[in-house]
């Protein structure tokens, strides 16, 4: 068979374009057999090929044993392949690693520097605590190896050992320190040590303070920029502990800032100066002032528009670090930072956003959010245009929603991830500190409405959503909806507006989307709550109920469905439960129809596999059936007899949902609820639950619903996407020709036309009673000249002769009463805007600050978050972080507990030394045992000598026989008589043989005494 080399494999791959998969499978098959071959060359080649394929994503964990085999090869070039294989393919669960310990020890002690390097370089990838423990002793001597390259690699490997086994550092640190202090040490070794110390430094800066003089020396005359960068970073962590360092550092750093031609060093200097608190207050104020302005002006120069994008990025990074310690310095740069939000480079944008998020106040929130909204709007309309183009090309008339072409979204102007991120930040900025920065809630509601339209469709819930972090899977549109709900619940003044916004969104959802498609937007869940809970504030409850009924069958996610189902009876109760209206025949029939429809819609859900849905559906169906019965039994009122509507309809059902108002509850409140004394949650519900359940299972009848259950639990719903906007919106992209008002500059640029129009109408409505407000002339009906005319005309109708009314009799208060339906919607809006009451989350004692309300602009209350807003979202995410290790993350937290300074306690807690001591003791003990054994043996032999033959009779006889035989053979040809004679002679000579043997034995014992050979030899003689 002709084997492929790596070269052949790669060429083959290049020649099999199109059917690589098959080719690779064949190669893998070949490798599998080749790697088992006894021929080391073949094995190593196969391994090299596997490593190459692993790089391309083909698992080779199955080959770990063979990796070990190649690692133990005698030839360097094969060994190297083996080590590479181990580095690339060993995972934490690779179990053959235990077998490698001796091999690693051996290679570490090799006489060839190149061979020593292999395990040193590989160890950081492989190391486990137990491996670290057993190899530490072999690694430490390598710190003083004659080759600088081995020294520096060993330093780093020891650091990585310490990450999993901190005690290693205690043993290694004195030696590493020695290397660092040695002025004649190879500079690259020193640099490597500085790198390691820098990594250690931020964990335990106090341990490295004693090194400061030496480090300072290196900084001043090191002449190595790479090292200088690390030293500055290290000093930035040291200066907070030792303020005297500041004065010492300031001159060389200032000097570097002024003279260095290397931009990276300059940047790190500035960064270090600011981060190390060197700008902090203290004596020598003028010098510091000078440095501060120097640094900030340099950073500002980096951020400003025309600079190198890399510098822009790193300057923003620096600002991001500075902002926690020196917010004022950063706030001064707001103008240039805000410019970066509109940068073309997404990396820069994101960094700028990180910064801006910490800088929002009630003054700049509006302008920042406007910037972001404009970006999103532009991106979404560009996306829509793209899809339109696609639509036109396809010439498909089946639906105009343009939701096709998932692939198109990849080339969208802004990636979905970024859009989601920005939306999340907008929500976060606005909801910060319980909406402390939002002044105009009407504006916020409009922004939210617009965001629901912009929000990208949720990604189909993918495989890892349940295995990994759950907060990740929170759908962004659901978060927007949550915000709207929070506003509705917490800000009573704008509740009507929020409810109407929810109403609008729901009606858009039901009318705009194609009825056959499932609704996937998560916003529906909180919105359904809002319209249900505050049904009395809806402008048209009947329409909303109808819309909800239309939407419910199309909802995919059971959690959303459950909330929607709950809101339907609430709406129904409001629509049907008017106890003052007459029970007319019309009402009776229309309500019967409505109930029949609701029941019809709900019925399929009675068998829903998700229990929450099923339960609610069953409850409401039963309730409505009862009510329908009652309604049909109640005769309608006629002209003669007044009949009341059935009480079930007017009293019972509404009473289910009214009563106490629901307030928002703080996330932690549940924990503060005391557990009732008699409650034991660990107590089983039924002592024999298991058997009950199994009984129930066996009793279960085969049902038709099986398939549905199967589908629900085992099959993934097909990924769907939704675009929630009317087609017309995407066709018409003409800029709105409306003059913008001064207070809301440029709002039209990011809000959809219809939202803007509604907003204008509302403003007009709100201000219609305000004689100081001059309405938009273009929209007023005729050429009346004054606002008062306008008001009069509106209120009294066009046919009224305004001149006939004396101006004196104008009563503004009456006017506001005259529109009762509107009155409800716009009660004292101006007043509300002055002092909007935002209710805080309710909680139970302990967590403090339970006064109930806060006003915008008032003192920010940290820790106050609404139930589901983005802050708490972030918090829960960070709270989880310590537990959940990030991908690729190093975990150096163990080092935090290790102190390097207390070296005067040699005895306790030092496993490595202890282990060495134990080993020494063990060796001593072994020697003792051996000595004793030898003594015993000798004593035994002495006895044997004294007793003579009997004790060894058997052996001797054997020997004798042998001897006779040989003798016989030798004397062949002689007569039998001689034979007999010989025998006799031998009888006497037996003694001699035995003594001979004894001598031999004695010699052997002597040998044993010299060296401590294996016991087998000593015992074997017996």
């Amino acid at each position: 068979m002709f084997e492929k080399s790596l070269y052949d494999l790669i060429r083959g791959l290049r020649n099999h374009k199109g059917n690589e998969k098959e080719y690779i499978q064949n190669c893998l098959k070949e490798c599998r057999s080749e790697i088992r071959s006894p021929d080391m060359d073949l094995k190593a080649t196969a391994l090299l090929k596997l490593i190459y394929l692993e790089m391309n994503g083909h698992d080779m964990s199955w080959a770990s044993f063979h990796v070990l085999e190649v690692m133990s090869s005698q030839k360097y070039h094969q060994k190297r392949v083996g080590y590479l294989g181990a580095v690339q393919s060993f995972r934490p669960d690779t179990d053959v690693l235990m077998m490698a310990t001796n091999l690693l020890k051996k290679d570490l002690a090799s006489s060839h520097p190149t061979t020593i390097t292999l395990p040193i370089v590989a160890l950081p990838h492989l190391v486990t605590p137990s491996l670290a423990l057993s190899l530490l002793g072999d690694l430490l001597p390598r710190l003083t190896h004659s080759h600088a390259s081995i020294k520096k690699k060993t330093v780093v490997t020891l650091y990585r050992l310490a990450l999993v086994y901190p005690e290693a550092l205690r043993a290694a640190w004195p030696k590493i320190k020695e290397r660092l202090m040695d002025k004649d040490e190879d500079p690259s070794v020193t640099a490597a040590i500085v790198n390691v110390v820098c990594e250690l430094g931020w964990r335990r800066p106090q341990d490295f303070l004693p090194l400061a003089p030496r480090l300072f020396e290196l900084l001043v005359d090191g002449g190595n920029n790479w090292m200088a960068i690390k030293l500055i970073k290290l000093f930035a962590t040291l200066t907070p502990l030792e303020p005297r360092l500041v004065r010492k550092l300031l001159p060389p750093l200032t000097n570097l800032v002024k003279t260095t031609p290397a931009m990276s060093l300059l940047y790190e200097c500035i960064n270090g100066i600011i981060q190390g608190g060197i700008l902090g207050d203290g004596e020598d104020f003028s010098a510091r002032e000078e440095v501060a302005s120097l640094c900030v002006s340099k950073l500002r120069g980096m951020v400003s528009i025309n600079s190198d994008p890399n510098l822009k990025y790193v300057a923003l990074l620096a600002f991001n670090r500075i902002v926690t310690t020196h917010p004022m310095l950063v706030a001064e740069q707001e103008d240039v930072i805000l410019e970066c939000i509109d940068s073309e480079d997404i990396s820069i944008r994101i960094k700028a956003l990180d910064l801006v998020q910490g800088m929002v106040s009630s003054d700049n929130l509006l302008s920042i959010v406007s910037r972001l909204m404009r970006q999103l709007k532009a991106s979404s309309s560009a996306l829509a245009q793209q899809q339109d183009g696609q639509e036109d090309l396809d010439d498909s008339s089946e639906d105009g929603s343009g939701r096709r072409a998932k692939s198109q979204e990849q080339t969208a102007p802004l990636p979905d991830d970024y859009t989601i991120d920005v939306i999340g930040r907008i929500l976060g900025m606005c909801s910060q500190n319980n909406y402390a920065n939002v002044i105009d809630f009407d504006w916020y509601i409009d922004v939210l409405t617009q965001l629901v339209r912009i929000a990208p469709p949720p990604s189909p819930r993918d495989l890892d959503s349940d295995s990994s972090s759950s907060p990740k899977s929170v759908d962004i549109s659901e978060r927007i909806g949550n915000e709207l709900r929070n506003v509705a619940v917490k800000v009573k003044a704008v509740r009507p507006a929020a409810v109407r916004a929810a109403e609008l969104i729901i009606s858009r959802l039901s009318t705009d989307t194609v009825s056959s498609r499932p609704v996937v937007t998560g916003a529906l869940k909180p919105l359904a709550f809002v319209v249900g809970e505050y049904a009395f504030q809806l402008s048209s409850p009947d329409d909303t109920l109808r819309n909800m009924l239309g939407l419910v069958p199309r909802v995919d996610y059971p959690e959303v469905l459950a909330t929607c189902l709950q809101s339907i009876p609430k709406l129904f109760a409001h629509v049907a439960g008017d106890d003052r209206a007459l029970w007319t025949p019309e009402r009776k029939s229309s309500l019967s129809l409505l109930m029949a429809r609701v029941i019809h819609i709900l019925e399929p859900f009675a068998q829903h596999p998700y229990l929450e849905v099923q339960e609610r559906a069953v409850e409401f169906i039963e309730l409505l059936r009862l009510t329908a019965e009652a309604a049909s039994g109640q005769a309608p009122s006629t002209d003669e007899i007044q009949q009341d509507a059935p009480l079930l309809l007017t009293q019972a059902i509404p009473s289910l949902f009214t009563g106490w108002e629901l307030n928002s509850v703080a996330p932690g409140a549940q924990y503060n609820v005391p557990i009732p004394s008699g409650l034991d949650l660990d107590e089983p519900i039924h002592p024999n639950l298991g058997s009950l359940l199994s009984q129930a299972d066996s009793l279960m009848l085969p049902t038709q619903g099986d398939d549905e259950f199967e589908v629900y639990y085992n099959q993934r719903p097909a990924p769907t996407s939704i675009y929630s906007g009317p087609a017309i919106e995407r066709l018409v992209d003409a800029p709105e020709e409306v003059g913008s008002s001064y207070q809301q500059a440029g709002e039209e640029s990011y809000l959809d036309a219809d939202i803007v129009a509604r907003r204008k109408a509302e403003r007009r409505e709100r201000n219609k009673d305000d004689p100081f407000y001059i309405p938009d002339m273009s929209s007023s009906r005729t050429g009346t000249s004054t606002p008062i005319h306008n008001i009069l005309q509106k209120e009294n109708g066009p046919d009224l002769d305004i001149d006939a009314i004396p101006i004196m009799s104008l009563d503004l208060e009456k006017l506001s009463v005259s529109g009762p339906s509107r009155h409800q919607q716009s009660q004292h809006p101006r007043q509300a805007r002055q002092k909007i009451v935002i209710e805080a989350d309710e909680t139970l004692g302990g967590s403090g600050g339970n006064s109930g309300v806060s006003t915008p602009g008032g003192a920010a209350r940290p820790g106050y978050d609404s139930e589901n807003n983005s802050d708490s979202f972030n918090l829960s995410k960070t709270a989880k972080k310590p537990k959940q290790k990030s991908l690729l993350q190093f975990n150096s937290s163990v080092l935090g507990g290790l102190s390097l300074t207390d070296e005067q306690r040699p005895d306790d807690g030092f496993a490595h030394e202890r282990q060495q001591k134990e080993e020494a003791e063990m060796a001593l003990a072994m020697k003792e045992v051996q000595r004793l054994r030898l003594e015993m043996q000798r004593a035994n032999e002495r006895i044997q000598v004294a007793q003579g033959v009997p004790s060894e009779g058997v052996a001797v006889v054997k020997k004798k026989k042998k001897k006779t035989k040989t003798v016989v053979k030798a004397d062949e040809g002689e007569e039998g008589v001689v034979k007999k004679k010989k025998k006799k002679v031998e009888g006497g000579g037996g003694e001699g043989v035995v003594t001979k043997k004894k001598k031999k034995k004695a010699a052997r014992v002597v040998k044993l005494d010299e060296g401590d050979g294996p016991d087998g030899e000593g015992m074997g003689g017996e």
């Binding site: 060993f90 520096k152 690699k153 073309e344 993350q889 190093f890 150096s892």
Partner: protein
């Protein structure tokens, strides 16, 4: 610290993968493809830093992260450079200097150029062991140990001869655009901002 060093070409095919923490092969591939999508959508003239790929962003740094010290362990920076047909990526924590990482990639490419004499993608494809060896002379366990070109090259050569690309593969199409020329031009191309003096 440096969490990973990756090289892949314009089609997203990996040429070198080195992760300094152990990671499942499938997750490695996902990370590579996520970074590739990010990197291939960069506008010309953008900076050399990528936003965190979703895989890292999800589990790693959220903007309002807990303590600054905790963050030092989490990968927070993705630096890349584009040479001819190849992308070089470094994923690192915040303890590394971003601008220095850009230079680190440059040093790596220059070292390869020195070793292969006018290096191109084909050299790297057929000699990926040398790629690993060169990287091993510069970074061990996620810590930079050497930035001096002479020493790096000498270190690699000490391990054995560096093979040239096979002669009959010399069409030099596709990958043959001459990474080395790019590397040489790199210093000037970056506007001289990153020239290391006294290296």
């Amino acid at each position: 610290m440096i969490n990973a060093f990756l090289v892949f070409n314009g089609q997203g095919q990996p040429r070198l993968t080195k992760f300094y923490t152990q990671l499942e092969t499938s997750i490695q591939q996902r990370l590579i493809s996520e970074i590739f999508t990010l990197v291939s959508n960069r506008a010309p003239g953008s900076c050399n830093f990528l936003p965190l790929p979703p895989l890292l962003a999800a589990s790693g740094t959220s903007s309002s992260s807990s303590s600054a010290t905790e963050q030092n362990d989490v990968p927070s920076l993705v630096t890349y450079r584009h040479y001819a047909t190849l992308y070089f990526i470094v994923i690192s924590t915040s303890t590394e200097s971003p601008l220095a990482l850009i230079d680190l990639i440059q040093v790596y490419v220059e070292a390869l150029d020195r070793l292969f004499e006018n290096v191109c993608e084909l050299d790297l494809i057929f000699n990926f062991e040398t790629l690993h060896a060169t990287l091993g002379e510069m970074i061990v366990g996620g810590v930079v140990i050497e930035t001096n070109m002479e020493r790096i090259v000498a270190g690699v050569r000490a391990q054995g001869a560096v093979a040239k690309r096979p002669v009959n593969e010399g069409s030099r199409g596709g990958g043959g655009a001459g990474l080395g020329a790019m590397a040489a031009a790199g210093f000037q191309g970056m506007g001289g901002n990153f020239v290391w003096h006294g290296r």
